[in-house]
Each structure stands twice: as structure tokens, then as C-alpha cells.
Amino acid sequence: MRIGIVCPYSFDVPGGVQNHVMDLAEALIALGHEVSVLAPADEDSPLPPYVVPAGRAVPLPYNGSVARIAFGPVSTARVRRWITRGEFDVLHVHEPLTLSLSLLAVLSARGPVVATFHTAITRSRALAAAQGVLQIVLERITARIAVSALARKVQVEHLDGGAVEIPNGVAVAKFADAEPLPGWPGECGPGTGGALGFLGRFTEPRKGFPVLRDAFVELAPRRPGLRLLVAGPGDRDDLYDQFPASLHDRVTFLGLVSEEDKARMLRSVHLYVAPNTGGESFGMILTEALAAGTTVVASDLDAFRRVLDGGRAGRLFPTGNPAALRDALAELLDDPGARAELTACGDQVVATFDWPVVARRVLEVYAAAIEATDGRVIDEEWVGLG
């Protein structure tokens, strides 16, 4: 099958959607399909061979962060040329409701169009006001995919349509084979040692870092050798200021890590802790920790409970409760049998998130979209004039 994928955000900056698009493209290629990915990027930036650059992206604040996107007449011309030359059997756009290449592609193409929605934009006034315009975009999409139950809920409630829920994939092998950092995870026996991991912006309240800090500060004096490994954006001093000076040598800060180092970091700890207090729509990091074979301890949020199979693939603790987290950590660090039981279950859970499995489900959606449309993806005068 010839598949054209459009990524709205520039590959110059790492991000969830970009990673998703790259992993999906690679999984589809591995299954024997021809894939071309159109993404904003400079002509001379280093890109995988299957990516077609669509020109420089401009920064634009969107949904609380800065997205780099491409939009305008030049981008439109490039999108249309790419569609004409590609002769795709199916066009797969990501986040088609942002001002981006994805939107341009949907408006320029006729034929089987599949769209994946990543963000769970909850109740937006802009969304309601623009319903008429949105309808023109949405009715050009043949089949919709949502990556989380929450993103699907938005589809059903606000965009007046269903969507197939297909979770984000995980490149299981990348995580399972990663080399732990030198000197980690170290010893872990009854009442002594052990390594805990946290990944994310520790200053962001919804990530719940203070819950983990409180649990660690209480547990560390009672448990010699217990260490904490923190990765994510933020200032070093801001992190260490949160801990008493006596514990500074037991906290290691890695700063912002690459995808590769993230895998190594997850392999370097006995327990990965996700103390989030809300705002997670899927819990990608949990599936990654499971793929790394690390035991997960997570707050009892809907999204986490779903990924962890109701607590069989990882330990859940009451959200925002440091004392409960502390007890769970102490218990699991003392009990390698319980950890092994959880990770064994985790292996089975994570197998359903492995990219080849997820890519096959996406291919079924492509097939459904192709059956419901006539012929290939063709370039068309803008917004169907003519």
C-alpha cells in the first residue's frame, strides 16, 4: 500500500506527535508498505529517508506550549505537489484541526483520508464557535482515530462523530534492550538500597513531583542506599532546594534527556514512579516503563488504571497521598517476588502496545477508509471549488 502521512509539527523539535509519526512510519515500512511523511522542516536538516520536508516552520503558541508549524500559500503548493506525486492509496493526517500542513492536506485532498487526534481538548469555546468551518474539514475525513479514551470522548461530545480508539504504540525493543546508566540501579535488599525514577517537568503541579518528594524524604533516612533519579526539563537548583541537604547526594538529576537516554534511565531504576495528580490523557511514559521491564508505581488515575490493567501490571496508590506512596515503595523494594509478578503482567500488557501490533490495527482502519471511498487520494482545487 502507498501511504502518505502528514505531521503538523516540525521534526526539529522533539514531541509526542512527531515520535508517534516516526514510529508509525517505521512500523508500516517494516510491514512492507511504502510510506512518505510530509513534515515542516528545512531542506537541509537531517531527516529520515521517508520524510519529505515542506519548508521552514514558524513558532506559534498553541494549547499551552509552542508549536512549530507551516501554513500559507507556499506550504499549500508543496502539500498539493506532494499529494499529486505520491499517488497514495490512503492519506493519514495527524491533528487535522490545528492550523498546519495537516489541515492544508485535508482541504487539498479527495479520497480516503484517515485522521488521528492526539490532544484531548476538553470543552473549547473556539471549537463550538467554529463548528461550521470545522464541519467542512471533518466531512473530508473518512475515518477517525483517537489515541486515548479522552481524545475519543472529545470526538463524540464536541465534534459530533465517532472515532476508533487505537492507543499510542511503544517501540518495545528500544526500551527492553537499553543499557542501564553506569552504576545504576545498584543494590536492593530488604530494608536497604533501591533506585526510584521520575521523568517529567518536576515544577509542573499536575506531574505531582511533591508527592514523590515527600515520600522519598520520609523513606530515605530509614532506608540507607535508597536513591532517586530525576529526568526532565527544569533548573537543577530548583530541584535540590526541595530536599534537605543531607539527602542531596542521594538525588541524581539528569536534566532533559533524549529518547535514547530516556530508555536507559527507565532501565536504571527498580521502581518508576508516576505520582501525577491529573491531566494525563494516556500515560505514554507508563507503557515505556513497562517496555523497559521496570516495575511501575502510579497514582490511581483513570488513564493509569487502564494502562496498568486495573493494577495487575503495576501498583496503584491513592492520588496525591505521599504516605500511601511511601508504604507502597517500601513494600515493593523489599519484595522482589512482587515486583517480578507485576513486570510479568506488564510484559503482556505492553505487547498490545508494541508498534507492529498497533500498526496492524491502523492498517485495518486504512482498509475501512479505502472501502468507503472511490479510488486513490487525488489533489483537488481548494475547498472543493470546481
Binding site: Q135, L138, E139, T142, A143, R144, D160, G161, G162, A163, V164, D309, R312, E341, C345, Q348, V349, E364, V365, A367, A368, A369, E371, A372, T373, D374, V383, G384, L385
Partner: protein, 167 residues
Amino acid sequence: MPGMWWAVGAVVAVGLLSAYLVWTAGRVERLHDRAELAARALDAHLLRRAAAAAVLAERRYGVELYAAARIALDAHPDEREAAENDLTRQLRAVQLDPADPDCEAVIAASRRLALARQVHTDLVRDARAARGRPLVRLLRMGRGREWPRYFDIDDPTLTVPADVPTA
């Protein structure tokens, strides 16, 4: 000469209006075409599932499932939704083993049917929304074509028993 500008304005307005009308008529046509194609795909997947269920029933599980599959295959259009729901219920009642190729065929057919149903429902909704717009009704665009109909069945996805050992 203000009179001339009025004339120019009127010509532009008429031009824009007719362009809009032509575009809307094209949109209504296109959405109807798509809904029809989706209905055909849905029909094919319903037949495929019923056939797979009949094959399975002949080998295992017996009469009741076979009867449900036959009724779904032969159902009159008015009774088809009920017959398909009945088949879904029958399939849920039996223990399906994903390792068995006949069971796997039914599970896969049900999954594909769920996708076809989803796509069909969305496309019918789009077509009906476009057809229902006041201007479209006033000018009776899309006349000569039937209103696209929903096919209202339960989600046919079969939940396979998880092969995760219960702790």
C-alpha cells in the same frame, strides 16, 4: 456614476452566490456518494461476518449460532438490524478461542465490521447534516436521491478473554 457601482456590486454578489450554490450542490452530491459507498462496504462486512459465523457454527457450537447466522444472511432489510444484533449476542455467548483459525476469522470479521459501522455512521451523519441545511432543502438539492439511512446496530466488537493469568 453611482449607478454603475451598484451594477458591478450586484454582478459580483450574484457571481459569489452562484459559486457558493454550485459548491454546495457538489458537496451534497459528494457526501451522498460517500455514504452510499460506505453502506456497500458495511453490507459486505456484515455478510462476511455472518458467513464466518456459519462456518464456525458448522464445526462447533451448533444449531443456535448457525440459525442466527442464517437469519442474518437472509434477513429482509427491515429486520436486518435486529438479526445482526441477535448474531452479535449469540457470538458473545460462546467461548471463542483466538488460537482456533475459525474463531479468529470471526473475531477479525467482527473487528472489521466494527470499523465499517463506525465509518458508515459518520459518513451518513455528514450527508444528512448537509442535506438538512435550509438552503439545500429550499433548492431541493440532492433530490432524486434517497436520504442516507443509519444502520443502527450494537457495537459488534467481541471482547476476547484476556490471556493474562489472574493473580
